[in-house]
């Protein structure tokens, strides 16, 4: 069997006395969409931060695309094809939507010690950026200042920035958080179009979104992954129901 796209072994991170992640093992296959669910404070966002390279683990190793990336920081991992969105929307608010995406293209087209040519006039940055904006449904909003986009549009913009780096793995931290029903449906449709073409690790509380998108689900509680399986298996797992879904909940 082929090596998983990302393979995590024994990943741990403590903040003071709190073990945010506790010897986490995680394998995600190439092309898979994996949801990570769990109650608040289970360590899901910490895990995403560790996978992205923002947080240095206290212990454990991470392999990505066949190489050990444990010691690589976030920019280096991004350049290897690991892209992320943040739990709290993170964009460049004082740049246009197009600029936001063009910056992501630029970050992946060699060094930026270029001092003379205006970046906004570079077709090799603008054209791919426009294409990605179109893919996420923001083609008509390219020239709008990112700060002036609606919340749902800003989340779409984050996906566009991630896609513009041509990632192999997309880490999404609650992509539909704070969204209305319609915005949520639009985002889930967008993510459905990405399935299989890119591997996705998705942290999400919206169970409809999770069960629609995920091939497999891992359940995290108190910093540990307590179960992994297909949506049906996880739904039927007694331990999961007790720990997270809540006994008696019909879902």
């Amino acid at each position: 069997m082929a090596e998983p796209l990302i393979a995590v072994r024994g990943l741990s991170k403590s903040f003071g006395g709190l073990r945010a992640t506790d010897r986490v093992d995680l394998d995600v296959e190439d092309g898979e969409t994996r949801a990570i669910i769990g109650p608040n404070g289970a360590g899901k966002t910490t895990l995403i931060g560790q996978l992205a390279g923002d947080l240095r683990p206290d212990a454990g190793t991470t392999r990505f695309a066949g190489r050990d990336v444990t010691s690589l920081d976030a920019p280096a991992r991004s350049r290897l094809g690991l892209a992320r969105s943040f739990q709290i929307t993170s964009i460049f608010p004082d740049f246009s939507a197009l600029d936001n995406v063009a910056l992501a293209v630029q970050a992946h087209s060699g060094h930026s010690f270029r001092f003379w040519r205006p970046a906004r006039a570079e077709r090799e940055l603008r054209e791919p950026a426009l294409a990605v904006l179109g893919r996420v449904g923001l083609g008509a909003r390219a020239d709008v200042l990112a700060a002036n986009l609606a919340h749902g549009e800003q989340r779409q913009l984050e996906i566009a920035m991630a896609l513009a780096t041509r990632p192999r793995l997309l880490l999404l931290d609650e992509p539909v958080a704070g969204m209305g029903l319609e915005e949520t449906q639009r985002m889930v449709r967008l993510l459905s179009t990405l399935k299989r073409r890119v591997t996705i690790v998705l942290v999400e509380h919206d169970m409809d979104a999770v069960f629609t998108l995920a091939d497999r689900i891992s359940v995290m509680v108190y910093g540990r992954i307590i179960a992994t399986g297909s949506p049906e298996e996880v739904r039927g797992n007694a331990e999961v129901r007790r720990a997270y879904l809540g006994e008696g909940t019909e879902s």
């Binding site: 976030a74 991004s78 993170s90 964009i91 970050a107 270029r114 003379w116």
Partner: protein
């Protein structure tokens, strides 16, 4: 196509600056050549600060350090009888850039108050170093023996010739600066100022770009220091005093950050007001202070934002 108000303001500004020496000659007021040359020298220092402060989000409270290093480079060479301007000014730029490299490597990993304090602390060290250099006049400073010589190409002892050298350098830095901030390099430091975690997440490693901007700004300000030594024909540790750093920062904020043109306007207005008000009263700072407060409160984009607003 309508010409933007901003373009008109800029063209008018350049023409007005170019006309200062002939007009001062007609009015028989050579002093104005001196005043406006001084303004433009500080304009170069202020626009170099705008690169890192406005575009890079690095609140350097020690920019006067490079002004001092540039001035001392010229002064010390002249002291030993080396008056070649090409050599003096090259060393002024290189030494300032090298100092910026050291200060930047240490300070750029920090941010906020820590960044401000580290840049301030380095500049205070250099200030006291200047005071301790008894050979070069200690805290009294020393006169510049001769202005920089350029092998007969241009004679800085001619006030107008010196004036146009400074004007040409100012325009050059404006053009280079505008290109740089719009190019890929500028986009990286601007994105890092806007949202550094996001810039890292899309694959930029901002540190090296911020450091490069810091070094470029230091070098440019070092050249302003070399010009300042020739302007005052005197050098003193006061060039590096922390109030001087504050003054340069004020020019940037008064004129308008993130424009490069704003700091030029800020330098002209601040030094102009100082000149006018100090002739009126010895307590001129009582008038200048509230004026600056009003501008900062009511013109968020600075004076240049006010005069260049389109529509």
């Amino acid at each position: 196509m309508a010409i933007s108000r901003r373009a008109i303001v800029l063209a008018a500004g350049a023409v007005l600056l170019a006309l200062v020496p002939p007009v001062a000659g007609l009015l028989n007021q050579p002093f104005y050549v001196d005043l406006f040359r001084r303004m433009m020298i500080f304009a170069i220092a202020a626009l170099s600060l705008d690169l890192i402060l406005g575009y890079g989000g690095m609140v350097s409270f020690g920019h006067a350090a490079y002004l001092g290093i540039g001035a001392y480079a010229v002064g010390i060479f002249a002291f030993y009888g080396v008056d070649n301007g090409f050599l003096q000014w090259s060393v002024a730029i290189a030494a300032s850039a090298a100092a910026a490299l050291v200060i930047g490597v240490i300070s750029i990993r920090t941010s906020g108050v820590y960044f401000i304090m580290i840049t301030l602390a380095f500049t205070q060290m250099l200030y006291y170093l200047g005071i301790s250099l008894e050979t070069y006049g200690g805290d009294n400073g020393m006169p510049l023996k001769t202005r920089s010589q350029f092998a007969g190409l241009v004679d800085l002892r001619n006030p107008s010739a010196f004036y146009y050298v400074v004007l040409a350098l100012l325009l050059l830095f404006l053009v280079l600066g505008r290109r740089l901030v719009a190019a890929r390099f500028g986009m990286v430091i601007r994105s890092a100022r806007s949202n550094e975690p996001r810039a890292r997440a899309i694959g930029f490693s901002p540190f090296r770009y911020k450091l490069a901007a810091f070094v470029l700004a230091g070098g440019a300000c070092g050249l302003a220091g070399a010009l300042l030594a020739n302007q005052t024909e005197y050098l003193t540790p006061d060039f590096m005093h922390w109030t001087r750093s504050g003054e340069i920062m004020f020019m940037v904020i008064l004129g308008g950050m993130r424009t490069l043109f704003g700091p030029v306007l800020g330098a002209v207005v601040l030094l102009g007001l100082e000149d006018v008000l100090s002739a009126l009263t010895e307590h001129w700072q009582i008038i200048l202070g509230p004026f600056l407060v009003v501008v900062v409160l009511f013109a968020k984009r600075g004076l240049f934002g006010l005069v260049s607003r389109d529509g």
